[in-house]
Symmetry: C2
Subunit: 326 residues, 2 copies
């Protein structure tokens, strides 16, 4: 197949290289060999590649900057992002071209970030960091995770990995997802309509769902207020899932004991924004999901898995559903 890999022009840490492709192809010899692969980084390189490419592998910033452009043979686009909300609506996608996202790549890194965040909340690290900022020594007693109630919204790659780690620490995990099918790491899986009944028993709330029309603004002020006093919140989904101002208010008045956030509205957080100084809040700069050492190799493995399915006429595991938005 004629495959074009396009690197963004501003983030060399996450660039694809020829040797990275060769290594991925060697890991999947049944499907990796015999392709005609080009690598671009400039807009001219992109346009040249698109003239005869059948498959494009790139990230969302490339699509935003350079697409649409003439691509008469294009059949597949594989994006190295998992959440594609900032590419919606998808009217830029040429008719007949299949879009894939990169779900799966983020499991290991996101899962570790999420369980770290839950442990930080259980150990009162956000408050310790606030006290440290003010030079205050005050004993703060945390607790172990075993038996504590965790609610994870979204059980895809991120939420599933979160639930798995949490179950290993003995937490009681309840998952919330659109289709409430059982999940091996969850005691209970419920539909989104059960959320209001669940929040008053939720000691730790992790947001790990995609941003869609159905999830935008899901965690309202009222829902945050219905969490028990001392609860903690983790957001590794998207900033727009939650009423961010209400979250800050409830940290200010100590209804919530802490929050660890990797995503915000807007990003980057502007200078002097209240998020920088809200007490008991830890700011991670939207880097929870990505490990530069493993990200691109793993992304190419997933792309080749999909190419195998394509060659065999099976449904593509990473096909993006334009209507659901994930």
């Amino acid at each position: 197949m004629r495959i074009h890999l396009q690197n963004p022009d501003n983030d060399p840490l996450f660039d694809f290289s020829r040797s990275m492709w060769d290594a991925a192809a060697a890991r999947a010899p049944d499907i990796g060999a015999g392709h005609d692969v080009s690598l671009g980084v400039t807009p001219a390189g992109f346009r040249a590649g698109m003239r005869d490419a059948e498959a494009l592998v790139c990230d969302a910033s490339v699509i935003k900057a350079l697409f649409p452009c003439p691509a008469p043979h294009l059949k597949l686009i594989f994006l190295t992002n998992a959440g594609l909300d900032r590419l919606a609506p998808f009217d830029w996608l040429p008719a007949g071209v299949i879009l894939m996202n990169n779900r799966g790549t983020h499991a290991a890194k996101s899962g570790e970030f999420a369980i770290m965040s839950i442990l930080m909340l259980a150990n009162r690290i956000p408050t310790m960091v606030t006290n440290q900022r003010h030079g205050v020594w005050r004993k703060l007693w945390g607790s172990v995770l075993s038996g504590r109630n965790l609610t994870v919204i979204g059980l895809g790659t991120l939420g599933g990995a979160t639930a798995k780690h949490a179950a290993l620490f003995g937490m009681r995990v309840t998952g919330i997802r659109a289709n409430p099918a059982p999940h091996p790491a969850c005691e209970t899986v419920l539909g989104i309509d059960a959320l209001d009944d669940l929040l008053p028993q939720t000691e730790f709330l992790v947001l790990a769902c995609p941003l869609t029309g159905a999830t935008r603004g899901l965690i309202t002020r009222q829902r945050l207020e219905s969490l028990p006093s001392g609860a903690g919140v983790v957001n590794i989904g998207r900033g727009e899932l939650i009423d961010q101002n209400a979250l800050c208010d409830l940290l200010d008045n100590c209804h919530l004991s802490g929050a660890v956030l990797d995503v915000f509205t807007p990003e980057p957080i502007p200078p002097r924004h209240r998020l920088w100084s809200t007490p008991n809040l830890i700011v991670s700069p939207h880097t929870s999901a990505d490990d530069p050492a493993t990200y691109n190799p793993h992304s190419l493995d997933i792309f080749l898995d999909n190419l195998r399915a394509w060659a065999e006429g099976r449904p593509l595991p990473n096909r993006f559903d334009l209507v659901r938005g994930y």
Copy 2:
């Protein structure tokens, strides 16, 4: 047996109660029943209890404040602390009285604190917190733990629990202890004389050993400098194990990428001390090991285990070695 439980007069969160004793006795019916148990909180209550007590259960602050005092029938002292360094030398201990510490109680909480700290270092949280303090949004990429090199100094309750969690995350764990016997969670266990060869390959260093004559000042400036650039340090042992100023210098100059410390010299950290503002350093106020919800019940379980051994004429599992100092 005539048993006296003495609560310190300044920390009601960790007080023993009659119902706590009754519950522990019910959990161990073979050894828990039939004792004559008194509970004291004032100095007068302590002296009254000591008149006929055969066993004393209390913490180190009670010993410091109220001991020695007449205790003609005393045979056993069970302290609810694990590290007894601040009670050395042990010349206050009456001849013939056996001293026990509380090793074992801290495994669950300390192990979770330690793996949280390692995850925080791998995810660059100390640097994120420093950036947040200055209102700076800067992407910082972390990495997963699998395959990374962890060195744990001390493989007792704390270090053993640390190694166990780390192994579950796929880390390559090397343990250091006085007697380098194998440990199930460690790929390798070495004696302290191997430390200098090991440090240049150590990406994460966890100090989890007791403070003794042999370990005081163990982690010198030179040893910290021999860690690879970007290494991270966790201390859940004692502040005096490490050259604290050298640690701050190496965080200041970014040789080390971060540190999570629960113990310091001195404690509390004085106002305006450099520890409060050293970059990429997280201060936890010596609370990593203790979970108020489970601490005393678990301590009483361990005390009763030792009482069973005493009744059966076996060696006491928690007997404190006055010469080794742990």
